[in-house]
């Protein structure tokens, strides 16, 4: 039963107010892309045991999408930030580094 902090309002949100939208920071491949890139974009998932970045929607609330950096094994949340970005903010990266030196997730580390 997770709680996540809304990066827009600062409110602590209960999982029952939210919907998870799956892996975040996926790069869209449209017409002109290779079959392989399109498959990766659509289906291949990091599915890590540990640090993960995922999209969340405050569906029973303000209707905003945001991204949470969360550990899939310990449920620790390293930070949340608006979905309108292509990379995690530095403070979230710092928070992860503090707990997991040397971590990587796709192109981020």
């Amino acid at each position: 039963m997770l709680t996540l902090k809304c990066p827009f309002t600062g409110a602590l949100l209960d999982e029952t107010e939210l919907n998870c939208g799956g892996e975040a920071h996926r790069k869209r491949f449209g017409p002109g892309s290779s079959d392989e890139d399109f498959e990766t974009y659509m289906f291949t998932r990091e599915n890590p045991r540990g640090v993960h970045f995922e999209l969340w929607l405050h569906s029973y609330g303000i209707g905003k999408w945001f991204i949470a950096a969360r550990d899939t094994e310990t449920m620790e949340v390293y930070g949340t930030y608006p979905a309108q970005t292509t990379e995690p903010p530095q403070e979230v990266i710092d928070a992860i580094n503090a707990k997991h030196p040397g971590w990587t997730w796709r192109e981020f580390s």
Partner: protein, 1004 residues
Amino acid sequence: MSTRLANHGRLIDRSKKVTFTFNGTSMQGFEGDTLASALLANDQMMVGRSFKYHRPRGVVASGAEEPNALVGLGQGNRFEPNQRATTTELFNGLTSVSQNHWPNLEFDVGAINTHLSRFLPAGFYYKMFIHPKPFWKHVYEPFIRQSAGLGKAPDKDSRDADTYEHFYAFTDVLVIGGGIAGLQAAKAAAASGAKVLLIEQTAHWGGRAPVDGGTVGDEPVDKFVEQLVSELETMDNVTMRNRCMGAGVYDHGYVLGYERLTDHAPGAQGPRHRLWRIRAKQVVTATGAIERPLSFAGNDVPGVILASAVRDYVVNWGVTPGDRVIIATNNDDAYRTAITLKQAGVDVIRVVDARSSAGLLAEEARQLGIRVDPGKAIAKVKGGKRVKKVELCNQDGIGGAREEVDCDAVAMSGGWSPVVHLWSHCGGKLIWDEANAHFRPDPKRPPLGADGDGFVVAAGSANGPLALGDVLTDAHAAGKAAAKAAGHKPKNTKAPSGDATEEAAMEPVWLMPANADIQLRMKSWLDFQNDVKVSDVQLAAREGYESVEHTKRYTTLGMATDQGKLSNINGLAILADALDAEIPKVGTTTFRPPYTPISMGAIGGEARGEVFQPIRRTPMHDWHDKNGADWEPVGHWRRTYAYTRPGESVHDAVNREVKNTRENLGLLDASTLGKLIVKGPDAGKFLDMMYTNMMSTLKVGKCRYGLMCSENGFLIDDGVVARIDDDTWLCHTTTGGAERIHGHMEEWLQTEWWDWKVYVANVTEQYAQIAVVGPNARKVLEKLGGMDVSKEALPFMEWRDGKIGDFDCRAYRVSFSGELSYEIAVAASHGQAFWDALMEAGKEFGVMPYGTECLHILRAEKGFIMIGDETDGTVIPQDLGLNWALSKKKEDYLGKRAHLRSHMADPDRWKLVGLETVDGSVIPDGAYAVGEGVNANGQRNVIGRVTSTYYSANLGKGIAMGLIKHGPDRMGEIVEFPGTDDKTYKAKIVDPIFFDKDGEKQNV
């Protein structure tokens, strides 16, 4: 015999007699009794039968850990099986029946199993009942099912007479357990100013401290508890709830509380149970410890009871389970029971202490004249339905040279195990404590919260300490630590000093006598309810079921309704011994919520019957209901399937509506169709991505039918899009699609194209929308007057704002039926009045309302696809011949890239065609068209399937649409659809437009 004492009984009110029944016999107890104490007071030693061998079972504990004393409680719509007598507060008129026997408790045919037990060891059923094969289903299993199960099932049609509710609570510190540790922890936390919620599963505060005695400061412990409770009651930042159990601990400080409000007063006002959904910054588990049984032969005979429980029955309820009691122990605490019994006037025949020496409490017992035998053990308890004799022997050895002693009860103590369940639910780890031979919480590895720090602190004996003083010190520190972790500043205070007689060390005793032979081990119970014995665990280990999970599952150890609260550690120790491994290496099974079973009613909460799920109603809902609506659930909406008239079948009603709409005038409540406003400078560009066809070029005032695909290429929705002004579009979605498509649009806008300037608003419920359909559609609107709805002023696929009659409206000239048709949107609040006006004005034009089935048939006659019928999540627009709606001009739209993949471009994909049965019959829903032969897996080859199939009253025959391999190239061919009714339906492949192929009827 088991009897009520003349003295003692701190929890009962002897002036208030309570009458209850057990197996139909009327009995008496006192207010404050539990059902268990009252049964014991009435010398009801045997209270049930065990699960596997149907052995006689008596009360063995006094609280939530009880595995034996389970009864069927109440009657009729309040009957409840498997209720623990030890946690059931007695009330007048309580009815209880014992379980798992036939024909009755005293004489049970199933008890034959106990004589066969030698042939029914752990896992016997895996090795037997294999041949002959049909016997498992028809002979063996029915027999096993009948003899298994515990309580009787409630009547098949019974409806719970009680209600339940859910409750939210937010707190800084939640303290679970209102014993002395919980109270002290709550006080320490509350002193810091933290908001504290304290919950206790029983009706009483103080736990077992008042039973065990001792002093705190200068006060006897019971006085200290009273003061502490009243002090907490006056604190504004403390909420206290008894009869409220901490049921489970979940991620990020979520805790379930299970409050039993009226179990002790059935029929009282209000809900029976309340499920608390608690969010706590910190949780203190002050859940105490549970005494372990000792494993000796016959330890399951009624009258063999935990030593602490015996003490509870004497002190709390003034009941002794026997007149002549033998006590077996491996620790000092059991001497408290000896002393308590002796002081209550009960004959304590002997204390059998497996250790060679004991501490001060033993000395005190001796001084009271109690015989203490060190180094001794119970070899065997004799008696069937109650204890008659005990055979004693040396603890070291195999159980020879026995001495037989008469007695009628045995109090046993194998040491104490902290209640670590709640600590463990969410990942808290345990360490093995050698000195006390138990697992306790490892403070270095607590359950972790959202911030990565621990959010549970164990306090008091739940954390290991057992002595009064240590418990208070530990609990005080735990309360302070929790308050601090919750962001408060704890007061610099010391724990009150508790004082109780110092105890000598316990010695682990996992088997009595230590080298008991196999005959004794086969009678030494570990799990009393499931009938798992020492020999069973040893057998499991011998056969290679070595992991603790294997052993548990192979023997069913700890899988009974008490979930191994009494048996697990003993079983684990036997397993470790059998494997020659250390206990902590073997590990524990996983602790899962709930701590004790909680009612399904409470979990379900208020949402039953009519309020199970919300129902969405259109503005005209009540009118439909009064006018014969046969309702169909569509998502959370209710839509009218058809309007039946008195004496008319649904089928006839549908046919009448179909004909009337084609011939005269039909009205459809289309309000459930989704209506999304998409607005902004980039709205056109955005809709071009959302829809497969071009929406940015749509002219203001015009409508266009649009298709939506997922990024994966599959059709997900369709509907008419209207351009309202330069930067505003109104998108209609399917009934089920409004929220889904709104969410879909928002997701793309927020997570991919967040710099595009577009807003989306779901205005579905702001409008009532009515489809006015049929040759007389224009006439009725013209009769009402207002805006010009002529062919010239409002051509097909255009919309206008204006007035019809007195109603401000937006009229769309669209058709999903092939008829002259207008969909007219008015403000939701005007919907009913507008509907009434149309019905009134339509009388002379033959108006009739029609439902969703008629809608389906009308569109099928025209070959229009329906999302959810022609599509199922695997269908792409190309399959439906909708290539015309796939824009070739656009570089990109959702689904475009996906359609390029090899399987989606495959010419062998099934394609949409019309299907006309050769004999006019209706192809069954869901039928498949067959090809020649079978595939590599022996399945009949199929070449297509029907997607929509109806009887068309207008055409007087069955019509269908379907997806057929190479279908459009096979016009006129006959394909076969085998039904599940043994008939084969032959159908000709035809054009999917069955009616008015040139569209003359709608273009008038």
